[in-house]
Structures are given as C-alpha cells and as structure tokens.
C-alpha cells in the first residue's frame, strides 16, 4: 500500500514539475540565506585571528604598555630580569611597493611587518630561513643571518609573497609607514611550509633594530611576549610598573572582537533574520505544496488509507524534498557566503582593522547545522498541514471551504495574538531602553523587532478580511464583477492568501524599516558632518588604509605644515585605541584652541565657551556613545590608566559623535601628553587663510608633498563624500538581505497565486463556460495578485515604521551606540509600494500563462 502511495507521490511531483521546483527553490533559498550569512560571519575575522595566533606563537602572556609602547630600557630590564622567557616585538601592517615600479598610489601589496629579536625569540615562534638562502651582496659573501642581524633594512619575506610579486633576494622594497616610504631589502626567504603551518601570509620579518628604525619607533617596543606558568605570570604581573600590564594573548583577538562588537552584533542580527526568513520561506513553500494535495488526500481517505499512512507517506516526500532542497541550499549558501564575506571584509577593513580578503572556508559544523535546520523546518512546515489534512473527515477534506471557514473564524483570534505581540514589543523595547546590560539590551531590542514582525504577521488575516471587504466595494465600481470576484477570492482563500500577504508584508516591512532607519541615520550623520567637518582640507597618512590608527604623522611633517604661509590654523587630531573598564574605547587628542571657535560641536548641555575652557584646563569631553555605554553625565569623573598610574578626569561636556561607536574620551593635546607621552597625530585638519582657494591649494600641497611624504590630501567635500561612501558600504550587506527578503516574498506570492488558480480550475472553467474571455480572466488574476501586493504594502507601512522606530531608538541607540533622529522619508514609503506591486504583478505572469491550458469541458466536469 505504502509503495503504491509513494508512486502516487512521485507521479504528483513529476506532474507538478513547476510546483516541485518552486518548493525546492524555496527550501534551497531559505537554507542558502542562513548558511551564507553564518559562514560569512564565521569567516570574516578568521584570517585576522589566524594572524594573531601565528604571531603570538607559543607566548602565554604579553606585556603591554601605554599607547606609546614600552620604553627600551624598561623592556630590557624585564627581559633580563624575569625568570620567565621574554622577547620584545614590534608590528606594523604596511603597504609596500617594488621600488622599480614607481607609482604614487599605494599598490595592493600588503606586508605584515614583524620586528623580532631572534636571540630571545627562538622559543616563541618557528620561523625558519630557507636553508640555501645565502646570497651575494656586492663582493662580500655574508650569511643571511648576519645580514638580517646587522644590516639596516634587512628583511626576510615569505616565499609566497616573493613569488607572487616576482621578488628575489637583494631586491629592495619600499614600505609605507607613518606617511613615509621606508626601504627594506630582501635578505632571505621564509619557506612556505613554515608559513602554511602557522597561518601567516604576507609576512616580513625584520630585526628589532631595523623595526624600530623604519617604524619610526626608536626607543620603544610594542609589547613583550612571555612564556610563563600561571604562577610565574602572576608574580611577574605584580612586579610590573604601573605603566605596564600583563595579559593573555587571546585578549588581543578579543580586543578586536570587542572593537567589532556592534559589527558582529549586526551580522548576528542579520543571521537571526536570515534564519527567520529562511524558515518562513520553507514553511511557506511546504505549506502550499501540501495544501495543493488536500483533494488527493481526501480521495485517498475515501479509499480507506489511514491518516497515519498518509502522514508518514507525505512526510517521507517532504523528507526527500527537504534533503534535496537543503543540499541545493548549502551550495547556494557557499556562493552567497563568498559575496557576503567580501562585503564584510571590506567594511571591517574600512572601519576597524585591515583584513586580507580570504576565500570562504567551509565549516562542516555550520553546513551540518543548517542542513538539519532546513530539513527539520521542511518536515515541520509540512507536518502541520499534513496532520490537519489527514484528520478531517474524508468528504470534508475534498472541500476547501471547510478550512477557509475555519481560517476566517480564526482571523480574530490571530489578530488578538498579534495585538499581544505588539504589546510585548512595547514592553521589550522599554525594557531594552532602560536595561543597562548591553548584550541583554541588544537581545531585548532584537526580540522587540521580532515581536513587531510577529504582531504584524498575526494581524494580517484579520486586516486582510477587513481591507478586502472595504476594497471589494471599490473593486466593484472599478472593475465590476471581475473586481468583486478577485477580492472575494482573496477573502475566501484566506488560509493561503494571508500567508502570502504576510510574507510579502514582512519583507516590505523590513525594507521599509531598514530604509527609514538608514535614511534617518544618513540625515543625522549629515547634520554632524556639517557641524564637525569644517576644515578646508584634511590630511591622513596614506598607510592609514592598512595600519589604521597606528599610522602616525612624523614630527617633520607637522613642522613642514607649520611653515606653510597659506595655512591659517592646523587641528592636529590623534586617535588612540584604548581600554576603559576592559572595553575598547578611543582617546582623542585635539588642538582645543584651534577648534573651539572653528567647529560647532553638538553638546548635550552647557555653554560652548565654558565647555572648551574646561577642556583646555585639563578636563575631558565624552562622546554620547561613551556616556551612554558607561552611564556618565556631565560632571562625572572618568578614571583612565596613564603612564603615572590611574588618574581621575572630570567630564566637562558630552557631545554627539559618529566617528567611533565604541565611544571616545576627548582631550586637549596637552592633557594627553602629560599622561601618555608624545602626542600621536593620526589626522590633520587644515584651515586656510580666507583668500586661499582650497581646491588650488590642495593641488599645490600634493605637489609639494610628492616624494617626501605619503599623505592623502582630502578637500572637505571629498571627505564628506568619503564618510557617506563608508556609511553606504557598511550597509551593503543589509541590501543583500533586502533582496533576499524580496525574493522570499516573490516566491510566496507566486505560489499563492498559482495554487489559488490550480484549486479554482473548476471555477475558471465555469467562468469560461459562461463567456468570460482570456482578457477578463487575466484581468481578474492581475487584480487578485495586485490586491494582495497592495494589502501587504498597506500593512507594511505601519509595521515597517514601527520596525524603524525599534531599530533607531532601541537597537541603534542602546546597542550600537548611535544617536539617530527619526526622519520620515517618503522615498522609502514609495519604494515599498512599487516593490509590492511589481512583485505581485510579476508573480501573476506565469500563472496567467497557464490559464490557456485549462480545458473547460474537463474543468466543469470535475466534482
């Protein structure tokens, strides 16, 4: 019996080839979205983490100093005196170029420069030199090792890097460090085997002497690596002077992780969303697939097949579909992950740390996880309607109206549930706003958004009924009986149409919510940019692209600028990655006297002039993000660890900021220097004298700098453009989600329209029999589909707005730490309307083309 049933199912699948294909596509897309986002999430930081691990080697701990690093003498004392093994280190991520090819732009050659002391490093890292790597240097035969230790600029580079860029031993490389091109030459090669094991790419080793010299860091080391037992480490930590501290190397990747916290949260949210959308999509497709089978099931029941057999058999089919669909989804997901990883890597590289774009590594854990999720969702999605279908008495199963009657009866109950969800959303949002716990807050915010979505979904059936009844009247006027029929069809097939409308509504709400949020964000950012970016020209070391905030202007450059007669004032800006209560923040040093009258900081309170006076007197400004994150108000004190131990700073003011989501403590250069040593200048704002044309001056300045300093000269407007470019880039991945949501909705609508038509074959036959032409039939289908689209858009307007509010005032403010003012954006609303109608009308095209195939005689004979 079961075998016969199975045959029956296979025949069904073969006959309904398109429906089967849609169903598979639905499952595959659902799985793909989940796999894609999750894989990308896992992969984005992998290369960075591997580099950190490889550089860390066998070190169990690291000794770190303040922003300036550890002074040589202190480093030497620690290395000499400690009972544990210790070795000093400097690191820099520089762009490099082969000196024969002189180009002004930094090429794509990126070198991870590591300055080590080979004499104390042997126990930490297993770098080896290719054994035959002895080279000629002039007439003197000198071993690679000796050259490495003794000759300025000697470097060992990895074989892969050398091969990729056609570099040989003795070749000179220019590396961009701190706005200047420095020269290194290749003294030897590090063999591939060593590197592939350690996971380092693009590595260049230099002796610590060369390192200090080319990094412009003479007198300091970045850190000291230590191999020590836990007890020895504790003893060591206790002996360290106040300016140094000991930490586990894992803290370093952890710090980057912390720095990327909100970015990762964003990805995680997207990943959740992907799971949600994916499961919804699978549920949607499977439900349609089973519902189409109701009649068949009814017949089987009439023939005496037990419900159990039907359930088992149909589940078996769903299992087959689930396996194939999920496998397809894994493949699609990997392709998607590749794109998403690229986007994510670009964003992280733009904003946080330089990452090499790496191809996606498959993670069998993730693949298995989502394969199972795909399969289980498919089974679950089919189980609900299958069980329902198998339970109803044989005769009733044939007639769909019974179900529809129930669906309409349930609509108010669903609506009640929907209202409950909305109430929950409000409670969660308030909780998230009040709750201090950042991570918990994020989940509350996410839950609030989810509750809004669920609320809208559950309200959809009732709203559909109400709106359809209302539109029915209009439709009668507009399109007569055809319009009435179309509207009534939506109403009668509520169990299907409501699901399709909800799916479309959900994706439209997401698009609208994101759209409104992004537009509001952009608007707020624009206000800030206008008030804070007011210098005529901005300067940044070219190597900031790779070294981020480690790329510093050399003092010579500042002297050079100070001699320029066209310049009225210079704002020296120094950003330093710092830690406050174990969390990453930034210390910002500015030229307070220069900027106080030139920039319009948006302070939350207080008199501008007084605020600046306090800052100049040694107090600090906190960014709004910092204040929110650590619950600080004006007048509160902030304790920061300085070279002289912990010091208390009073908060003079709080200002709105969009440059660092981690939060920043801003101070005058003098305050910084007193506490952390020499100022680090990472950016410079140049104010020109009134009569100077900034465009012409930018050109002149570039020409004057050429060959001396590698500095990006960015006129004000270009910087503003760049700010928005980075902004848009960081939302690129969101667009992927929007597109996927659109596809989900589209598939939902297309399967809804299809199944509506398939089920109504007889009705269509009657309509044709009583004289309805194809044109009128098409008109009806289009109205039906378009009406569903319009209904979805109608419901999406409030739902999407609510989502935007949750994202702006709950998630962004309290988790991502951005202050955004909600701004109505008509474009976003218009966009979802045309998206809805376009999706709905497109979805009608294929079903319409199938109408011709209906045989009237056969259709009306069916009963």
């Amino acid at each position: 019996m079961l075998r016969l049933l199975r045959l029956f199912n296979l025949r069904h699948l073969r006959r309904k080839r398109l429906e089967t294909l849609l169903c598979l596509l639905g499952i595959a897309l659902g799985v793909a979205v989940m796999v894609g986002i999750d894989l990308a999430n896992q992969n984005a930081l992998r290369s960075f983490r591997r580099t950190v691990d490889a550089v860390t080697g066998r070190a169990t701990h690291q000794i770190l100093g303040g922003p300036a690093g550890i002074p040589d003498s202190l480093a030497a004392t620690i290395i000499s005196g400690s009972e544990v093994q210790a070795t000093p280190l400097l690191e820099y991520v520089a762009s490099a170029r082969f000196h024969a090819t002189i180009q002004d732009t930094a090429t794509k050659m990126i070198l991870h420069l590591l300055a080590i002391d080979p004499l104390t490093d042997a126990d930490f890292r297993d770098y080896s030199i290719a054994a035959n790597a002895t080279a000629r240097s002039g007439s003197t035969a000198m071993s690679t090792g000796l050259r490495f230790l003794l000759q300025p600029g000697a470097a060992l580079v990895d074989e892969d890097f050398a091969a990729a860029h056609h570099l040989k031993i003795d070749d000179t490389l220019k590396v961009l460090i701190g706005a200047r091109w420095r020269e290194i030459y290749i003294a030897g090669l590090i063999p591939k085997q060593t590197l592939s094991q350690s996971g380092l790419d693009n590595l260049a080793l230099v002796d610590i002497t060369t390192g200090q010299e080319i990094f412009g860091r003479v007198g300091y080391v970045d850190r000291i690596d230590v191999i020590a037992s836990e007890t020895a480490a504790r003893t060591l930590a206790a002996q360290l002077p106040a300016s140094l501290h000991l930490e586990a190397p894992a803290r370093r990747s952890q710090r980057v992780n912390d720095m990327l916290r909100s970015f990762r949260l964003n990805l995680m949210a997207l990943s959740f969303l992907a799971v949600f959308v994916g499961m919804f999509l699978i549920y949607n497709t499977m439900m349609f697939a089973v519902m189409q089978r109701r009649k068949q099931i009814g017949i089987l029941r009439c023939l005496g097949v037990t419900p159990r057999q039907i359930i088992l058999n149909t589940l078996l089919e769903a299992f087959g579909l689930g396996v194939i669909g999920s496998l397809l989804g894994l493949g699609l997901g990997v392709v998607l992950a590749d794109y998403v990883t690229r986007t994510v890597t670009t964003t992280i590289s733009d904003l946080y740390v330089f990452l090499k774009v790496s191809s996606v590594t498959l993670n069998s854990g993730i693949l298995t996880k989502f394969f199972l999720i795909g399969l289980l969702t498919t089974l679950l999605a089919s189980a609900v309607p299958i069980i329902e279908a198998s339970k109803v008495p044989a005769a009733v199963a044939v007639r769909r109206s019974a179900l529809e009657f129930r669906a309409q009866k349930f609509a108010p109950r669903f609506a009640f549930a929907g209202i409950c969800f909305l109430v929950i959303a409000i409670v969660l949002a308030l909780n998230s706003i009040q709750g201090g716990e950042v991570f918990g807050g994020f989940f509350f915010g996410l839950a609030a958004a989810l509750a809004v979505a669920l609320g809208a979904i559950f309200l959809t059936p009732l709203l559909t009924l109400v709106l359809v009844r209302f539109t029915g009247v209009i439709m009668n006027k507009l399109a007569g009986m055809i319009g009435v029929l179309a509207a009534r069809n939506i109403q009668t097939a509520l169990s299907r149409t409501a699901v399709a409308i909800a799916a479309l509504m959900l994706s439209l709400s997401m698009v609208l919510g994101m759209g409104l949020m992004i537009a509001s964000f952009r608007g707020s950012l624009n206000d800030w940019v206008k008030s804070v970016l007011q210098a005529d020209i901005y300067l940044q070391p070219t190597d900031a692209a790779t070294a981020k905030w480690e790329a510093l202007f050399p003092p010579e450059f500042i002297q050079f600028l100070e001699q320029q007669p066209e310049i009225d004032a210079i704002d020296l800006y120094g950003a330093t990655a710092f830690t406050y209560r174990g969390q990453p923040i930034y210390l910002i040093a500015i030229s307070a006297v220069v900027v106080k009258d030139r920039l319009d900081f948006i302070f939350t309170q207080g008199n501008d002039q007084e605020n600046w006076q306090h800052l100049i007197a040694g107090e600090v400004f906190l960014s709004d993000g910092f204040a929110r994150r650590f619950h600080k108000a004006v007048g509160d004190t902030v304790v920061l660890s300085t070279l002289h131990g912990p010091r208390v700073f009073r908060t003079a003011a709080i200002f709105v900021d969009y440059s660092f989501e981690q939060g920043q403590v801003m101070m005058d250069h003098r305050t910084y220097t007193e506490n952390w040593g020499a100022s680090r200048i990472t950016n410079i704002g140049v104010f020109l004298k009134p009569q100077i044309d900034f465009r012409r001056y930018a050109v002149d300045l570039r020409r004057a700098l050429a060959g001396r300093f590698a500095v990006q000269v960015i006129p004000n407007r270009d910087l503003r453009e760049r700010v928005f470019k980075v902004f848009d880039q960081s939302f690129a991945i969101t667009q992927v989600m929007q597109i996927l949501a659109g596809v989900v909705a589209f598939i939902g609508i297309i399967s809804a329209v299809m199944s509506l038509l398939v089920e109504r074959t007889r009705e269509l036959g009657i309509l044709r029999a009583v004289g309805m032409g194809f044109g009128q039939l098409h008109q009806m289908v289009l109205i039906e589909s378009g009406l569903m689209g319009a209904l979805a858009a109608c419901i999406a307007v409030p739902a999407g707005t609510a989502l935007a509010l949750v994202m702006i005032y709950v998630i962004n403010l309290h988790t991502f730490n951005w202050t955004i003012n909600f701004q109505i954006n008509f474009g976003a609303y218009v966009q979802i309307w045309w998206m809805a109608l376009a999706a709905a009308l497109l979805a009608a095209i294929y079903p319409m083309s199938r109408l011709k195939k209906i045989s009237i005689a056969a259709a009306i004979r069916e009963e």
Binding site: E83, I129, L146, T194, Q212
Partner: protein
C-alpha cells in the same frame, strides 16, 4: 631546515670568513695583566668564561655545576644605528646542575644581544652577564673573589669563588696553538682552584654547599680546521692538592692531534706543561645518548708523570643539546677519579668536556 636562531648563529660562526680578517688573532705572546685580562677582549671574535665545580653539603651530598658565558662578535665593528638594540656581540650562556645523589642532570641555555644591558662583559675586570646570570669580580672579606649567579626553572646557584692559586697560563705563557694553521691558537688561562661556598637550589630544595671550582678564560678568533672533529678536555682537583688540565683534539682519521696539551699545577702553584707525548688519556667504556645517538666515552684511563688514574662519571647522561644557542651537542659533566701516584692512593674530582661525538 634548521631552527631560526641556530641557523643565524651557525652562519655567524662559520661563514663570516671575510669579516674575520678584521679581527685580531692569537699570535703573539701576551703581556698578561689582571684584573684587566679577566675582562673581555673585543678585538678577538670569540671569548668564553667557563666555570665548573664539584660541591657538597655538610652531610656529603654531592652536586656538580657548570656556568659558561660565551661572547661571539658578529663583525669587527657595526654601522652606527639609531636603535639601541643594535649590537656587535652575541652572548650565550649555558647553565647545568648535576644532582649526583639522584643521578639527575639539568641544563638550560640563554642568548641575548650585547645591547641595552641585556648582556655584556666589562673590559677592565671580570664582570660578564647575560640577563640575570652573571659572574662578577667583587671585593669580598678575603680580598678578590668572584660571585656566580644563575637561575632557571630547575634550580639556582649563588656562589662565592675565592681563588686559592694565581692564574695559571696554558701552553706557551697562555698562548696555546690548536694546530699547525697560522693563527689557529687561543689565549688561555685558568683559575684552577677556586674555593667555593654558597647556595644551590634544585627543584625547590635549597642546599648550603662548599667545594672547589675551576675557571677557564679563553679568547681567540676561530679558524676552521677541517682535520679536527672534536676534542676532550678535562680538569681535575686531586687529593694531594695538585690540579691538572688535559686537552686533546681528535682528528678526522681517528688519531689524536699532536697539539694535545696539558698543565699540571703543583700544590704551591708552579706548573708543568705537557705536550702530546707526556700524557695518555684513553677511553675505556662508552655510553650512548638516547636522544642524540652520540656515543661518549664515560670511563677513561689517565696517565701523566707518575700518576695512574681511573676516571668514571657518577652520572652518565650529562649531555647538553645547545643547538639552539651555540649550535652544538656536547657532553660536559662532573667526574671522579681514583688511582695511584706511585704507591700513594689518590682520589679526585673534576669536569670533563667531550665534543664532536654526535654525527
């Protein structure tokens, strides 16, 4: 493929031939002056200060120790550099303790650049250090004395060494040729009898010890001699208050180099120099290292003057794998001898070094 540091130093030791020409060579007689000659001699590429000794507790529990500092110049002079990490000399130190009662041998090694006080040696007196390991001349209660300090995860020493004899010069007034090759010679003197007192900690246990140590100080500019595959070196303190140093170079054909030498130090401090024919130093039994595969003679028959001694090693495994620092695997450990001088029963303790036994 070799490990990084080893390779660097290996290259430094062997292939910087051209640069070597600019170093001074041990060729002329030296006008020895102390304490200046206890200090470093940067004109010569290689220099070492070797401390070995046998010590015991009041209850007679015996230990051996070795603390050695090597200085190796990478070049006669270096370019002026901005960074304070620039250096000319590599310093390497080996530290070993033999716990005879437990039959255990512990050793470790360190290296550092001669910069930023990470490691260095004074030119005016004996003061060499690498990190917190050091050998320093101090003014003690009984005049000049040497303070030795070293610590590692297995143990720690803090000894005061009092010289009971003046420096003893080997070879021809401290100039000892190693072969017929011109310039293949070393400047070499010893403080042969150093009364030793101090504290030794080994795996948490602390001991107050007394005993006697031996210091060798050599400096030279090495010349590769392909004929020589290794050497055996021995220092002994004998029960008749004499002391002796014996050294022989094993050649590639299995013979002993004619440049073998020895120095006998009488009770009152006068010396007698041996050349190849004056003594015999013959292996009797072998021990094979389970880690390196090296086959070392651990029992020897020794004859010089009217002494006939049987040497044995209380702990067979006193092998040091220092490929990471000096690039060598060698055996250096405490030994004991017993035998006769004529009819007189003689006993003694000392240190034996054997190199070139690992293929």
């Amino acid at each position: 493929m070799l490990r990084f540091t080893l390779y660097l130093l290996f290259c430094a030791f062997t292939t910087s031939i051209l640069a070597q020409n600019d170093f001074a060579r041990a060729e002329k007689m030296r006008d020895w002056k102390f304490p200046r000659d206890h200090g470093q001699h940067p004109a010569y590429q290689t220099e070492w200060w070797y401390f070995t000794g046998n010590v015991k507790t009041e209850n007679g529990r015996r230990f051996g120790y070795e603390l050695t500092f090597f200085r190796q110049a990478l070049a006669p002079a270096i370019l002026p550099r901005e960074s304070q990490w620039a250096f000319r000399d590599v310093y390497i130190a080996h530290f070993a303790i033999t716990d005879i009662a437990k039959g255990k041998f512990y050793y470790t090694q360190k290296s550092a650049r001669g910069a930023l006080h990470l490691a260095g040696a004074d030119s005016a007196l004996l003061a060499v250090h690498l990190g917190d390991w050091s050998a320093r001349q101090e003014n003690g209660r009984e005049g000049e004395q040497i303070r030795l300090r070293a610590a590692s995860d297995f143990g720690e020493i803090d000894f005061v060494l009092q010289a009971l004899r003046p420096p003893v010069f080997h070879g021809d007034h401290g100039l000892l040729p190693n072969s017929h090759l011109p310039g293949d010679a070393v400047y070499y003197y010893s403080l042969p009898v150093l009364q030793t007192t101090g504290i030794l900690r080994c795996h948490g246990e602390s001991f107050r010890l007394t005993g006697s140590s031996w210091m060798d100080h050599e400096f030279f500019t090495p010349i590769a001699n392909p004929q020589v595959i290794g050497w055996d070196w021995l220092s002994l303190h004998l029960s008749d208050s004499t002391a002796v140093m014996l050294a022989q170079w094993r050649q590639i054909d299995g013979s002993i180099s004619p440049y073998a030498t020895g120095t006998f130090i009488r009770r009152e401090g006068t010396t007698q120099i041996f050349s190849a024919g004056n003594f015999s130093f013959i292996p009797q039994a072998w021990w094979t290292s389970p880690t390196s595969g090296g086959k070392y003679p651990v029992a020897w028959k020794i004859k010089f003057l009217d002494y006939e001694l049987q040497l044995r090693t209380p702990v067979a495994n006193q092998e040091l794998d220092t490929r990471r620092s000096t690039g060598k695997i060698y055996w250096e450990g405490c030994v004991e001898v017993s035998g006769k001088k004529g009819q007189q029963e003689i006993r003694g303790e000392g240190y034996l070094e054997m190199t070139g036994y690992v293929k």
